[in-house]
């Protein structure tokens, strides 16, 4: 991770992800998630719940062109994306 801010955003994304998919994971296991798209059970509707969760968490609507599994499954890309958006507010 690039900075403590990035690490915090990545943790928030992981936490939203675990809640959206109703995964029964301990905090340690949650912190070890690196590739979101490879998690079993990530189907069309749970992706939708994940998007809704992210948008609520970061109070930002994801642009239509970014609504793709390749982007939403990439933790690094998501972290960079929300880090930029969060920074704009401060």
């Amino acid at each position: 991770m690039k900075s403590p801010e990035h690490a915090e955003i990545a943790n928030r994304i992981r936490s939203v992800f675990v809640q959206s998919l109703v995964l029964n994971l301990s905090p340690d296991e949650t912190a070890r998630i690196s590739d979101l798209s490879s998690v079993a059970g990530l189907d069309s509707l749970s992706l939708l719940a994940f998007v809704a969760g992210l948008e609520t968490e970061f109070s930002h609507q994801i642009e239509p062109e970014r609504l793709k599994l390749a982007f939403l499954g990439d933790l690094q890309a998501l972290t960079d994306y929300f880090a930029q958006r969060v920074r704009r507010y401060y």
Binding site: L42, D43, S44, L45, L47, L48, A49, V51, A52, E55, Q61, E63, P64, E65, L67, K68, L69, L72
Partner: protein, 376 residues
Amino acid sequence: MNYDLAHRDDASLLHVAFTTFRIGVLILTLAKLSQAQPASVTQALQKTMECKSTPAQTSNHETRIPSPYDRPYQPLPWVTVKDVLWALYLYPGRLLSRIPTLLNLSLNIAGPVVQMLSAPRKDELLQRFAAALGPEKPPSVFVDIARKYIANDIRRVGDDLLLERTNANIRCISFRGREHLDGALADGKGVLLVGLHWFAERAAMRFLTETGYPVMSVRHQEPPDKDMGRLGRRFFQPKYISFLHNVIRDEVFLGDRECALKILGRLRCGGIVSILLDAPFSQQLVELPFLGQTRDIPTGAIHLIRISGCTVLPMLALGHARALKILIERPLTFDRSLPNEEFCQAYLPPLIDILESHVRKYPDQWDCWTKPWKKP
């Protein structure tokens, strides 16, 4: 330009004719094989088919949604009557559709024959009508609805052949509620057309697209067919999938992992998406009363409505491609601040009630009377 199109039509005609011939030879050969093969050869062929189909299944990353039409595994016959009908529909039928007069004539001839052969199906229909629409009505009413239902089914088969062509020449005789669609599009939040499997659904979507309202349809990629043999599953189903793609064109498949994201993306761009709520293909289903029985209703659409903030318009398509009627109702209102589960409980039943009232009003136009009502 015109010359090019005519030339291309001739070439595709020749191609279709040649393929028809090849398929005919293949059917005959396989029919002979299935009758005369020693058991060991049949098993060897079966293994070859299974081996060939495995890589395709594993390489496909899309999730297969369990179908309510799925049956426990049992060896399929090589060729069934349904396979032969599929072959006839996909090859000579498509040839016939090049000459609309001939197609109409064929449908008119086929109509009474199909009505006569559909006696068992009509019995099933009469039972369903009586259970759903009220047993107090005289049986003659249901007999009439069943006759119209079969006629509309035949008509839809012909419509698909017409819709496959670029110039489908759809004739809409009534389009009510266009102002609701225009108003919803002007809001720019995207429009979700919710409806059921009407016989005229595909013609309506195509008409809307051709008149400046491009609609993305959500559908199941592999149309299930319990009467298919191995030949049908192997050759005609893929052909039928590509045929349906030419009919529907702008589509997203339920088995696609990105299905909901694609729909959300289209809605957020201010586009139109059509969802049919009577198809129980989803990872998340709820049981709701529908036409006097219980039916599995997918909840994906209601989650989309909450998340996307789109305008929701109930829609009804009646008639057929040559005499189409479209009715779009007023936009529905939602309190999107409700949590997911509560939102679903609060708004899915009323939405289903609206759609159910459409079926009660136009029972002969709804395609799903003979489909299973609940997953096994």
